[in-house]
């Protein structure tokens, strides 16, 4: 009975570790020309190979999800996440693992020149494992990208709903971008909250930065206005550009119960009058 192929594989890697590391580094330099991270990659090669051979030796199955592979996977995961943040492509990330194949296989060919069965076994095993590891780096890469995106979405959500105080008792909510349901919910809540906190009598909702006002957006606006009114604050919708006005008319949306103005400045004047402030031109001497 011959040795299991995992032991053969681990033995070969251990025996020629230094040589393999060097070959791998050279292959990496060829495929990752211009990325300017050769030293970082080289260091990673040196760290990864011992972990790889140890895992191969200890793990019973050809499955990198078992606990024996934890160390190797953690190292790769860290590397993938870093690459995702640095803006590399998934290919560039996975190439780190796949570029180990060529030096490893030529090593096998030399080592098992007279043992075709061992050659085939070792090649197959390492091929299976490296494919899994390569896919694993892509998976982690993808996950970190998704995390970055969802974090940015969250930041955008928070950034995009500033409620500002313009004057005593006057709030303004400049809306920018697409008003989908989840954003509108945040907008409405933050406006109503601010009305409570400041005791404002008038809130100006400015839609200059909203490119499309369809019936859903109109409905959201009307609901916000109605909710604010229940809390004792009046709303003025400003920033209604000519094309938006015409579109709203064609759609048949009824905004007659709401005070609307073309610009934020106009709305502000109305708000000042409503709250009892007076505007008078300063006479210059």
């Amino acid at each position: 009975m011959s040795q299991p192929s995992s032991n053969i594989l681990a033995d070969v890697i251990n025996k020629y570790e230094a040589e393999l590391t060097n070959d791998w580094k050279r292959t990496l330099t060829q495929v990752s020309v211009g990325t300017g991270l050769e030293s970082e990659l080289a260091q990673l090669c040196t760290q990864f190979l011992p972990l790889f051979s140890r895992a191969v030796q200890r793990a019973a199955q050809e499955n990198i999800n078992s606990t024996e592979w934890d160390e190797a996977r953690n190292l790769l995961a860290e590397f993938s996440r870093l690459r995702a943040r640095q803006g590399f492509t998934p290919t560039q990330t996975a190439m780190f693992i796949f570029s180990l194949k060529q030096p490893l296989f030529s090593l096998f060919r030399r080592e098992f020149a007279t043992q075709p069965a061992e050659l085939a076994d070792a090649t197959w095993l390492s091929n299976t494992l490296l494919d899994q590891l390569g896919l694993f780096t892509v998976e982690v890469f993808q996950q970190s990208r998704d995390q970055i995106i969802s974090r940015q979405q969250q930041e955008l959500l928070e950034l995009s709903t500033p409620v500002v105080k313009l004057w005593q008792n006057i709030l303004a909510l400049p809306l920018i971008g697409t008003l989908d349901s989840s954003r509108t919910q945040v907008v409405m809540e933050s406006l109503l909250q601010k009305i409570i906190e400041t005791g404002a009598a008038i809130a100006i909702i400015d839609i200059t930065g909203v490119p499309t006002v369809d019936t859903l957006v109109a409905q959201h606006l009307l609901k916000t206005v109605a909710a604010a009114r229940l809390m004792g604050a009046d709303c003025i919708i400003s920033g209604i550009r000519p094309q938006i006005a015409q579109t709203i008319v064609h759609l048949g949306v009824d905004l007659e119960d709401v005070i609307t103005k073309a610009t934020l400045a106009d709305a502000f004047v109305v708000a000042l009058q409503r709250t009892g402030a007076t505007l008078s031109p300063t006479l210059k001497a």
Binding site: T212, D214, L216, Q243, G252
Partner: protein
């Protein structure tokens, strides 16, 4: 310049984000054929209503966008199709203020008023397709 159409690009409509993407693409095409700002806004809004209907009432579908070229006219041809439940009473669905989805009930009729041509084909249990065209005015 008499030959008709560009290859329609089909866009999936299964999430709110898809609606936003369709809207952005419609706006880009509208700018490309030189629609005025008002007409751009109208056709984008109509597309938004119909895309939202596809999503809300049928659970999803697809939008096909193409630019029409006729003699010396250019237009934007948009088709929204789904395999949803269909519309039993078209007249009722087109009525302003009637809604089966909790909205304002203005989307379908409003979309029709915002464009030059509007065609609705539906079969109960099979699905619905709405085609709209907005021509560039000279």
């Amino acid at each position: 310049m008499t030959s008709d159409v560009q290859i329609p690009s089909a866009m999936p409509l299964y999430t709110d984000d898809d609606v936003v993407r369709v809207r952005a693409q419609v706006r880009q095409f509208a700018v490309e054929i030189g629609l005025s700002l008002v007409d751009q806004t109208k056709v984008v809004t109509a597309a938004s209503e119909l895309a939202r209907n596809t999503l809300r009432h049928a659970g999803g579908g697809e939008a096909r966008l193409q630019i029409l070229q006729r003699e010396n006219m250019r237009g934007l041809h948009l088709a929204f199709s789904d395999r949803g439940p269909g519309i039993a009473d078209i007249g009722l669905a087109m009525t302003d203020g009637y809604t089966s989805g909790g909205g304002l009930g203005l989307g379908l009729g409003g979309a029709k008023r915002l464009v030059d041509e509007f065609e609705l084909t539906t079969e109960v249990g099979k699905g619905t397709t709405v085609v709209i065209i907005k021509w560039k005015r000279f």
